[in-house]
Symmetry: C2
Subunit: 657 residues, 2 copies
């Protein structure tokens, strides 16, 4: 017996190559060589996920003479597939149908590459292997005949085992309830969504590609949801809303107090966030042209109090020492058990782990997104929000803490504050000579002095705008290092009031309400308290970590636009650092939720990281109060802010876009 001949096969773009025995199915050959090609119909030539192109010609660089004729000719099934899609003659072949007959240079198009990677552009670019909890399988089932005692579920199990080697599966009851109708509607061809290789959560008639998940960040003030395609990692829609718990208390302590003093407090707060999440899911699904019923998985982060309330667990024990959580482990639970009834009836929710009573799953999300535990450099990460969270350290030793920032940076407790939404002032510049302002609102790319006042329609100031206006006021001497308005300010926008003063940011003709938008002395005080809390927390962690300088600072936050790092540095939001090494990255906690949604490996990593990081309860340390008081003023250039000097000068003249 002679051995069958072998042929060189090379796959692009990976460059993987090998000798393949004649007659081998190309899809199998690819897998043997470690090339991951999509396929959800298990070689039944129906899903088309495994399509490839074969190059024609001699490729010296690769040492190969390739031709589409080196594949077996198209059979009837494959031809029918391409004809149904009116896609014949473009050279595509189904790699599950074609066998090898000669040397091949194969291009695997982007959409056929399995385990595609998404890139997060944070402080550092990085890639994540897609490994979502939900995977889809298309199967043809052999229906039952008289004398075959098997039920529909046993028939489906047999098909999944035979075609995909899936064993030990269970089926969620709501999916079982519709299984018989579905299998007949699909004429015994169904698309099955399986959660964590364990449970069938959705059965759809026929071939129905598409699995979707929701990444949710429940902030104290802002709730953000990203609707993601679980097969590509793409964000299809992002929706945000004010946390509907805000009317019950603006920060976590006041919400705990509400629950403590109202017998139905937890029920009300839980009901509010559950209703809010249902709305967000519906809005996100609609925006993406989907139904909320298409959402079969959720990853959720939030600080510990938001975490407990969302799970309908009382946060009372988090409110006082020893700040004990009900659980710090990740929680996997059915969406319906949480009241998330607009989602698919069998959808799962993965709630990321908490670190300690005072550092929550949102901080774990930040770790997943920024990966300080994989880095050499000493990094400070500040997640700016009503409940600010801070990380200091590197892969050797990482510390975390929370800081009661207050909602100023989210636009609350500010006279004309609002959340980041169309009409919110998000950028502010003050002219160094005239000391008059110009600004930009969310939803319009023009500055206020580049457009007719009536078109501006400013509605308020959001977090990034608040940081910028206070920094600009300080940089131009309109407020003093103590935070007080300079009563001698020679600006037409400065108005001295009875005891203090205020600065007119938008005139009535520029606003949607027809009334001025002003910055008050109280607003500035709120910003001072907030930034001092973050600064003091960071200093405390640095001392604990034994470092007196930072290699890198990352500013994260869920409130719309990225923070201007220059302005944040101007007001002393964080300890000194070379501005080139300061990054503003947006909603890192939400990105962490998205990463956990897309990768089971990252869920496991999150659990380990949550246990490994050292948690510090900063606010009960005596040094905290000292640092906090010292940080209330705005910083002078020079020690301890050597990097501030150039910036102060620069800021006066800078007009960065």
């Amino acid at each position: 017996m002679s051995n069958p001949p072998k042929h060189l096969v090379i796959f692009q773009p990976s460059g993987r190559r090998g000798e393949v025995v004649e007659g081998a199915v190309l899809l199998d050959a690819a897998r043997d060589l470690g090339v991951e090609i999509e396929s959800i119909c298990a070689g039944q030539q129906t899903c088309g996920k495994c399509k490839i192109l074969v190059e024609e010609g001699t490729f010296r660089k690769h040492g190969i003479q390739s031709s589409p004729a080196h594949l077996s000719p198209m059979g009837e099934t494959e031809r029918a597939y391409w004809e149904r899609r009116k896609n014949t003659g473009h050279g595509y072949r189904l790699s599950c149908a074609a066998t090898v007959r000669g040397p091949l240079l194969v291009t695997v198009p982007e959409e056929s590459q399995a385990r595609k990677q998404i890139v997060r552009k944070g402080a550092t670019e990085r890639v994540i292997e897609l490994d979502p909890a939900i995977r889809q399988y298309y199967v043809n089932i052999t229906p039952s005949t008289l004398g075959d005692d098997r039920g529909d579920w046993e028939l489906l199990q047999a098909a999944l085992r035979d075609h995909f080697g899936l064993t030990g599966l269970r089926i969620d009851l709501p999916a079982l309830r519709t299984l018989q109708d579905t299998q007949r509607a699909g004429q015994w061809g169904v698309t099955v969504s399986v959660w964590s290789d364990q449970e069938v959560v959705r059965v759809q008639p026929g071939y129905a590609e598409g699995a979707y998940g929701l990444a949710v960040d429940v902030g104290t003030t802002t709730v953000v949801a990203h609707l993601c395609d679980l097969r590509t990692g793409a964000v299809l829609a992002t929706e945000a809303m004010m946390n509907p718990q805000v009317p019950f208390g603006e920060d976590i302590l006041s919400r705990i107090t509400y629950i403590q003093t109202h017998p139905d407090g937890l029920t009300k707060l839980n009901g509010a966030i559950v209703e809010g999440l249902n709305k967000l899911a519906t809005r996100a699904a609609r925006r993406a042209g989907l139904s909320p019923d298409d959402i079969t998985d959720v990853a959720l982060v939030g600080n510990t109090v938001m975490h407990h309330i969302a799970l309908n667990i009382t946060p009372l024990y988090i409110g006082s020492a020893p700040f004990t959580l009900a659980t710090h482990d990740p929680v996997d639970v059915k969406a319906r058990e949480l009241g998330l009834t607009t989602l698919n009836r069998c959808a799962w929710v993965h709630v990321l782990p908490c670190e300690a009573g005072y550092v929550g799953a949102d901080n774990v999300g930040v770790i997943l997104a920024e990966e300080p535990h994989h880095q050499d450099k000493i990094v400070l990460i500040i997640d700016v929000g009503t409940n600010g969270e801070i990380l200091v350290g590197n892969q050797e030793h990482l510390l975390s803490a929370s800081s009661p920032t207050g909602p100023a940076f989210e636009g609350a407790q500010i006279a004309h504050g609002m959340r980041a939404a169309p009409g919110a002032i998000e950028r502010v510049r003050i002219d160094p000579e005239a000391l008059t302002p110009r600004f930009r609102v969310i939803g319009d790319d023009r500055w206020s002095d580049e457009m007719p006042p009536a078109e501006i329609q400013a509605a308020g100031i959001c977090g990034s705008g608040i940081i910028e206006v206070v920094a600009e006021l300080f940089a131009h001497g309109i407020i003093l290092p103590s935070g007080k308005f300079n009563p001698e300010t020679p600006s037409p926008n400065f108005r001295r009031t009875a005891r203090v003063g205020e600065y007119i940011l938008a005139t009535p003709d520029q606003t949607s309400t027809g009334r001025e938008i002003v910055v008050t002395q109280n607003d500035i005080r709120a910003v001072q308290l907030a930034k001092a809390a973050l600064y003091a927390g960071a200093k405390l962690l640095m001392a604990r970590r034994g470092v007196d300088r930072l290699d890198r600072v990352i500013l994260a936050g869920a409130f719309g636009s990225y923070i201007s790092k220059e302005h944040a540095m101007l007001i002393g939001l964080f300890p000194d650092c070379d501005l080139d090494n300061v990054y503003a990255v947006g909603n890192a906690a939400g990105d962490g939720a998205r990463i956990a949604l897309l990768s089971r490996a990252k869920r496991r990593e999150a659990r380990q990281a949550a246990r490994w990081v050292e948690k510090v309860e900063t606010t009960i340390q005596p040094e905290f109060q000292t640092e906090f008081v010292a940080a209330l003023n705005f910083p002078h250039a020079g020690d301890p802010f050597p990097h501030l000097e150039g910036l102060l000068t620069g800021a006066r003249h800078k007009d960065a876009a």
Copy 2:
């Protein structure tokens, strides 16, 4: 180094013995010798489950000189335990506290024997090892301190691991929600109920012995629930009700039709049984002095249609060939998912497997209860009900089938029929000379002729009464073998009507309504149809099994009193068998549910048996119709009923209690 001395220790009543090293804890020594002693506090001397007695004296038979002084003296903790219970001086010791110092003859009292056994008195007595899904553990938890980041659940997990070696547990969300309050209410001592070594389903403050489950048989006409103590196997309460689905259709086919013809049909029928089960659970719990919240496990049986409707799955596909079920496997599901909201919020339901589209979980229950699959003898088991089920065979080959009996034997479709409840006539005798009746009603031990008529308060006839009255009428010639009334009957109770006739069983002064209770020609016809269906099904299975005689017949049924086997034989309910080998066993399906409730091993056995038994769809076999028609008449003595002759004579004179 010399080895420590060893002493002979003998445990009663098991007789297990062995040499035990001095200083060993007696509880450990018992376990090493295979003697199972209860203990739920893991040797903390708090639960008292492990108490034992040591005999004093020389026991020649055992070759031992035993003394309580051969145990270590009582420590303070143990003394405090007995004093709290005012139970000092009775010689009991805690085996978890006492160590061995000399030879011991130990008596383990009944209540300290772990894995106690229950006895089912069916056709054969048998014992079952208690191995319920719910097990309880008492633990003391080390509370969290400042700097310990663990949540309450992680603290509980650590305690369960350290004291009982339990690992990999999860906790159901409703239990997690109350965990923090509970652990503090119990001052960090809690009793934990764990389901299937996997999930914490209940946490109670302090030491709270007691785990309870419900065994449910959902019959087409009658629903029965047994509330059981999961630690002893004892039935604490039994409650029954008419299936609230009866108004929607009296048999399974008419209920399928209802669902087919009403868009909300399934919702209504499911809602009816769910509401009924909630009521039964509450009633059973109250009767046992418990709360339905104490019920943490349920085992449920029913025919395939009742099974599907209870799970809120449409039974439509069971209604026509190939009679495919949604699933034939056992289903483990949360009670709350089924709407059983009166039970403990974390309670589980185990639904026994079905065999095929036409043989359900109730028949699997019968198999568990009667164990034909463990026997040599060829047995016929008839589960008499609206949907009768039949088993024929032995451990080598067992066949099952269902038979559409109709509800006559459950008192429905009978002029004065009623379900087995107080006031129902359950026993009937007819005087051979006067041809007048006497009877007994449920709730009174006296016969009707032994009491003043006004005290009788008969309300109707239940299943066992219907069988008896028809058999008596036939045995005394009042009805002919064809089923027709003998128009010449010389009885004051026989009334000839226009076309047929009727027999007056109770006179107006004997009934609660003040109206007669009569047996009509239609009633007799309904009994003929029902018994012929069972007989024909049994004959068909015997032919398939290749046997023409039965070693044993078992009559089971959920309708109150046991069937009188003599009367059942008289009307030809089953093929001929020596009356000594005929047994009436009551509700075997319900007993099977109880066995599954108490034993996980039996759940596994049920799954295997359900797959192994050969299912026969009798009604579509052509022979069925022939056998059915042939069986409509009442049997003559002689072939094929050699055992009937003596009985016919005997019955005329018999007045068994």
